[in-house]
Amino acid sequence: MSARQQLHIRTPEGIVFSQTLAGPVARAVAWIVDVLTIGAAISLLQTILMAFDALSPGIGLTLFVLAYFIVSLGYFIFLEWRLRGQTLGKRLLRLRVVDAEGMRLQFNQIVIRNLLRFVDDLPLLYFLGGLVCWFNGRSQRLGDIAANTVVIRLSQVGQPDLSQLLAGKFNSLRLYPHLAARLRQQVGPAEAAVALQAIMRRDEFNPVARVLLFGELARHFAAKVEFPADATEGQADEQYIRNVVDVVYRPRVETGTARANASMMS
C-alpha cells in the first residue's frame, strides 16, 4: 500500500501508528447510500407531515419545509456525532471520520465538515470537493481540511489468536535444537511474516495455488538451514512451513511439548 493511502501519526513517545485512508471512490459510494437514505426519510416525512394540512391549511407544508431542511442538513451531523464518525453509508463501507491528528473527534469538527458540504458540492454533485479529495494527499475534501478531519477505513481486528496455529503439536524440527536455533537466527521478520500469513490464510487459497505457494516457501526456508532427512521425510511442504513458523515464533516450548519431542527422539 502506498504511503499516500496511510495516515501516519507519531506520538510524543516516539511510537508511530498508521490508519488507512479512505479514497474518493469509497467515500462517494458511502455518500450515495446516505443520499438514498435521506431521500427515503424525506419521502416518508412528506407523506406523514402533509397529512397535517387536513388540520389547518399550510401547516403540513410548513412542517415539511422545516423537516426537509433539518433532515438534509442534520442527518450527517447527528449520525456522525452519535455513531462516532459514521453515517449509515460509512458504516456499510466500514469508513469513519476521525481527527487528522489522531485526537478525539469533536462536535465542532463534525458540524464544520458537514456545513462545508455547501462549498464541496459546487458547482454540483461534489465536483469541487471530489477534485480536492482526489488531489489531496490525505484524501480530504474542503470540509475535512477546514475541520481537520480525515476519513479512514476500518479494519475489524480483534485480539490476535494464534493458539490454534502455535499449539503444542509435535514438531520434528525441534529434534535438532542447534539447527532450530540457527533457523531462528537466519530468518528475518519479513520472511517469517510471509510464512505465518501463508499458514493463517491457507484455507483461503485455491488448491493449486496452495500447493505451489507452500512448495516455494519450503524451498526458500530449506535453503537457509538444512535439516537431516529424518526430520523432514514424508512431510508435506505445508507441514514443513508450519514447523518453521512454530520454531521461529515460539522459540521456547512448554515442558509437556519438550517431553513429547524427547520421547519421540528416544
Binding site: 489522531g102 474542503l142 479494519s155 481486528v157 490476535p160 511474516a193 515460539r250
Partner: protein
C-alpha cells in the same frame, strides 16, 4: 531476532483487554471522569501497549497483532493527548448571553470588513441603478423587484391583505431555511481563501443598494424603510455575521504573518465558527417570522412609522446585545 510471539501474546493479552475495556467505557461515556489512580493506570496501560507496538514493529512483522495494537494505541492516544476540553453540558442561556456576543466581539474586525465589503457593493449597486436605470434586470433579476416602485406601492397599499395571506407559515419556513442556507454558503466560501465570501457579500450589497436607490428615486422612502427594516434589521446583520465567519475561516486558511501550522490555525477557530453559525441561524429564524408575518403588511393596515420604529428598535437591541452582553466578568462561585 524474532519475538517469541506466543509468549509475548500471553504476557500482554490481559493488559490489552483491560485497556480496550477502559477505552470502550470512555468513548461510550465522554463525560466520565477518571480518578487519579485510574488515570495513572490508564496511562500505564497505554504506555505498555505503545511499547508492545514498538516491539512488534521492530522484532516481528506479524500484521494482525501489529494492526490490533495500532488501533488500540490510536484510540488511547486520542484520549490521553487530547488537550481540548471535554464537552460540557450545553447551556443555551450561557451560550446566548455570553459566548455568542463575546465571540462576535473577539472577531469584530472581520465583521467590520464584512460590513465594508457590503457597503462597497451597496455603493456600486446604487450608483449603477442611479446612472443607468435600464441596468435593473441585470442588477436585480427578481420578478418582485422588476416592477416600477410607485406602481408596486400603490398595489400593495390598495390590497387589504398581503399576497401570501393563508401561506404565511410556509413562507416563513421557506425564508428561514433559504436564508440560513445562503448564510452557510457565504461562510463555507471562506475556503476559497475568502474570495467566494467577498463575492457573496458584495453581490448582496449590490442588490441592496440598487433596490434602495430605485425606491428612493421613485420617492418611496417611507415604503422602502417600512418594508425592509422590520426583517432587514436582523437579516442583514445575520448575513454580515456569516460573512464575518467566512472571513475568519479565510484568515485562518491564509494565516497572514503567523508561524502556526494550518491545522492548528483551523483548530483555533472551529469553536468560534460554530458559535457564529448558531448566532446567525437563530437571528434568521426570527427574521423569517418577521418578514412573513409583519413586513408584508403595509399602510393603511399597518402604519409605516410603526414598522420603521419596530425595525429601529430591533436594530438597537441587536447592537446593544452584540456590544454589551456578557461583557461583565462572571462572579466567582462562593466557596463551599
Amino acid at each position: 531476532m524474532i519475538i517469541d510471539l506466543e509468549r509475548f501474546l500471553n504476557q500482554e493479552r490481559s493488559a490489552w483487554a483491560e485497556l480496550e475495556a477502559m477505552l470502550d467505557r470512555l468513548e461510550a461515556e465522554p463525560g466520565e471522569r477518571l480518578s487519579l489512580h485510574q488515570l495513572r493506570h490508564f496511562h500505564e496501560l497505554y504506555e505498555r501497549a505503545s511499547a508492545a507496538l514498538a516491539k512488534i514493529t521492530t522484532f516481528s512483522a506479524e500484521p494482525q497483532t501489529r494492526r490490533y495494537l495500532e488501533i488500540l494505541v490510536a484510540r488511547a492516544y486520542a484520549e490521553i493527548h487530547e488537550t481540548r476540553g471535554r464537552r460540557q453540558r450545553f447551556r443555551f442561556y450561557d451560550w446566548l448571553s455570553r459566548e455568542l456576543p463575546q465571540t462576535f466581539r473577539r472577531n469584530v474586525r472581520a465583521f467590520w470588513l464584512s460590513l465594508a465589503i457590503t457597503m462597497v457593493g451597496c455603493l456600486f449597486g446604487g450608483l449603477a441603478i442611479g446612472l443607468d436605470p435600464d441596468s435593473k434586470p441585470v442588477l436585480m433579476p427578481f420578478a418582485g423587484l422588476m416592477q416600477d416602485p410607485a406602481k408596486r406601492v400603490a398595489q400593495e397599499e390598495k390590497a387589504d391583505h398581503p399576497k401570501i395571506e393563508g401561506n404565511k407559515a410556509p413562507f416563513a419556513a421557506e425564508l428561514m431555511t433559504h436564508n440560513i442556507k445562503v448564510s452557510i454558503l457565504t461562510l463555507a466560501l471562506g475556503m476559497t481563501f475568502g474570495l467566494g465570501t467577498i463575492i457573496m457579500l458584495f453581490y448582496n450589497g449590490v442588490i441592496l443598494g440598487a433596490v434602495a436607490v430605485d425606491y428612493l428615486r421613485a420617492g418611496q422612502a417611507k415604503f422602502l424603510f417600512g418594508w425592509l427594516l422590520p426583517h432587514g434589521a436582523i437579516e442583514i446583520p445575520s448575513i454580515l455575521i456569516a460573512g464575518q465567519a467566512g472571513l475568519l475561516l479565510a484568515g485562518a486558511l491564509i494565516g497572514w504573518g503567523r508561524r502556526v501550522p494550518l491545522a492548528q490555525r483551523l483548530r483555533e477557530i472551529s469553536r468560534e465558527l460554530l458559535t457564529l453559525i448558531g448566532g446567525f441561524s437563530l437571528l434568521l429564524v426570527w427574521a423569517g417570522f418577521v418578514e412573513s408575518f409583519l413586513s408584508q403588511y403595509h399602510e393603511p393596515v399597518l402604519p409605516y412609522a410603526v414598522k420603521i420604529a419596530f425595525g429601529l428598535f430591533e436594530l438597537g437591541l441587536l447592537t446593544l446585545f452584540l456590544a454589551k452582553s456578557g461583557s461583565k466578568p462572571v462572579p466567582a462561585a462562593p466557596p463551599p
